[in-house]
């Protein structure tokens, strides 16, 4: 990767982190409601993964979607506006934290039914196969989602029909309070892809460059071979499952250990060690992010609420 691209990834990761830190504050202040699932700790995944796509490739994910939205090029302004339920959010304030989508950027949503979006991802690929193009659908989901039937139906179909889907399992070790060992028959989740004869691999999700490289290779395969691929990304969420999680299911030391592996910290050191950037340059990026986030909050807070008429729009197309 070129220097500019690497710095862009750094910018993106810091942006995701800061948007969410601000988001958490606004949630505590009662300005954001509903469920809000933070991506903090997992920033390297969406950043590295989506950097490897072409803009025509579609992305679809679960409700832990702020990072994915930002990685797809949706502005912090819009993400913040959707969090605040404003008319200027990409889902016009009707979706909220869990339902961020901007199909013009090929971000097809955060989806809140666990595993529910996997057959839909297969469906995107059916659409592309039917249209005879070689677009890829990148479908992200959690470790917990690999235990529900939707997952198995979708993987089986993808392999049987040769669908261009890159399945990306973000293994953050827990589905809510249930660890992988307590919920999954196999601890190495990529083994589930083996069962469907699907090519697969595993990558360290705290290292953005490794994620990027693994994703690039996987996407090349999917595009060329017209076959699905399964990528397991090992990562960790530093915060609770959603806001207000008492976190009785894991020890503080475990969280601390992972936090020492902060993906932003790792990347920061890499950039300095390889002399890709000076400390000053990285500080400048962080300062720019702070401005961007402050502006986004201002934009969101000053944006209009949806109107009562909006309650009845977009129920049907006809």
């Amino acid at each position: 990767m070129k220097k500019e691209q690497l710095l862009d990834l750094y910018h993106q990761m810091v942006l995701i982190r800061r948007v969410e830190e601000r988001g958490a504050e606004l949630y505590q202040a009662g300005k954001i409601g509903g469920f809000m699932h933070l991506y903090i700790g997992q920033e390297a995944v969406s950043t590295g993964l989506i950097a490897a796509r072409e803009s025509r490739d579609r992305v679809i994910t679960a409700y832990r979607d702020h990072g994915v939205a930002l990685s797809c090029g949706i502005s912090a302004d819009q993400v913040m506006a959707e969090l605040l339920g404003k008319a200027t959010g990409m889902s016009k304030g009707k979706g909220g934290s869990m339902h961020m989508a901007d199909v013009s950027k090929n971000m097809w949503g955060g989806h809140a039914i666990v595993g529910g979006h996997l057959p839909i991802a297969a469906g995107f690929a059916i659409g592309d196969q039917y249209a005879k193009n070689d677009n890829i659908t990148i479908c992200m989901f959690g470790d917990g989602a690999t235990n529900i039937g939707y997952f198995h139906e979708a993987l089986n179909l993808a392999k049987t029909w040769g669908l261009r889907v890159l399945w990306v399992c973000e293994n953050n070790q827990y589905g809510m309070g249930t660890s992988v060992e307590r919920a999954s028959a196999v601890n190495e989740i990529r083994q589930k892809a083996e069962g469907y004869g699907m090519k697969n691999s595993q990558v360290d999700g705290m290292d953005v460059v490794k994620v990027y490289e693994a994703a690039k290779e996987a996407m090349d395969y999917v595009r060329k071979e017209g076959q699905p691929y399964f990528l397991e990304v090992d990562t960790y969420r530093f915060r609770g499952h959603s806001m207000g999680d008492p976190e009785r299911y894991r020890k503080a030391e475990e969280v601390k250990q992972w936090q020492e592996n902060d993906p932003i910290g790792i990347f920061n050191r890499q950039l300095l060690d390889k002399k890709t950037a000076t400390k000053k340059a990285l500080d400048e990026i962080e300062a720019r992010v702070d401005e961007e986030v402050a502006k986004a909050v201002e934009f969101a807070e000053s944006s209009p609420e949806p109107t009562m008429e909006d309650l009845y729009t977009d129920i049907y197309a006809d």
């Binding site: 409601g33 009707k94 039914i113 529900i148 809510m176 309070g177 249930t178």
Partner: protein
């Protein structure tokens, strides 16, 4: 009488029945180590251990299907759906299996299953996580559907449900766990399939249940300030439906409104209104009004969501309308 929350009432019912009958066990997502998503089973895992408090993978079909199987061979599972919206993921098991297996095999076995499910809107959870689809489930013969509106009823009805030999969907409301109410000291049960007058009045009848009860009680207070006495009939069980108290009240007041949180079309209110017209037509003095959710998927935005949900003032307005 002790005053406790809905959460405590449900929790007590589960614990008392688990202590009473070793065949009772709990199965669902985050019921154990987490202590229940709504903290209803907090402390259960430490008390009963993993054999009786089964944390499952995210697999609604395996939860409900598995509970059905265990019930068929003599256990008494209480399966928990984190929210009723996930019942749609397990719809085949709820309506195609649980509701039909005994009948289809000529009554060869019993199916003593309770499915606890949390429903309701008002928490800004967006369209897929906020539904009140109670009427959908009440549509199916073979399934019983219970949805209490007070801690006393919740405890007594849940205990009956666990002792019942049939599949019962027990619907709780996500915004009502903190609701407080008097509960009798000691052991008691409340029969399934019995409606109840929760407030007496002579001017009009409000038929409702669950969240609608909470709202209707507040509306009745407001109406009383203006000299209007509303009688409130709480259905408590949607199937089998006990129309007796409804009809009795209606024959006295001749005017009614029906209040539910779910959508109006094809809803609980539609059923109640038809039954009144079928069974007490001669007593009708004014068209019966249904107060229900606007016909939209629920939005995230707080103001819009509240506008779509039935409110106390909607009930007050409807009550005055039927009294015109």
């Amino acid at each position: 009488m002790a005053k406790i929350t809905m959460r405590e009432a449900i929790s007590q019912a589960l614990m008392e029945e688990m202590d009473r009958d070793p065949a009772v066990f709990i199965i669902g997502e985050e019921v154990g180590v987490w202590g229940g998503t709504y903290a209803v089973t907090k402390g259960f895992y430490d008390k009963y251990g993993p054999d009786r408090i089964k944390d499952t993978p995210i697999a609604e079909n395996a939860i409900i299907g598995g509970a059905i199987g265990a019930a068929m061979v003599g256990q008494r599972p209480v399966a928990e759906l984190m929210t009723i919206n996930f019942a749609f993921s397990a719809m085949d098991y709820v309506v195609n299996q649980a509701a039909k297996l005994r009948y289809m095999f000529g009554g060869q076995f019993m199916l003593p299953l309770v499915i606890r499910a949390v429903g309701g809107g008002g928490r800004q959870l967006g369209a897929t996580h906020s539904q009140t689809p109670d009427a959908v489930f009440a549509h199916f013969p073979g399934l019983k559907v219970v949805s209490p509106g007070t801690p006393e009823d919740a405890k007594g009805l849940l205990k009956s449900a666990i002792r019942s030999n049939d599949p019962i969907l027990f619907i709780e409301h996500a915004t009502m766990y903190q609701v407080r109410g008097e509960v009798p000291e000691g052991e008691y049960t409340i029969p399934i399939g019995k409606s109840k007058i929760q407030r007496e009045g002579s001017d009009l009848t409000i038929v409702t249940y669950c969240k609608g009860l909470e709202l209707s009680m507040k509306a009745a207070d407001e109406l009383a300030k203006e000299g209007i006495q509303a009688e409130i009939v709480d259905l408590r069980t949607l199937r089998p439906l006990d129309m007796e108290p409804v009809l009795e009240s209606f024959k006295k007041t001749n005017r009614a409104i029906v209040v539910e949180e779910g959508w109006k079309s094809y809803g609980v209110g539609s059923e109640i209104v038809s039954r009144i017209y079928e069974e007490a037509f001669d007593y009708v003095d004014a068209p019966i009004i249904r107060v229900a959710q606007k016909e939209v998927p629920l939005p995230y935005n707080r103001t819009l969501e509240q506008a779509a949900l039935p409110q106390v003032h909607d009930i007050v307005t409807a009550a005055k309308e039927v009294l015109k």
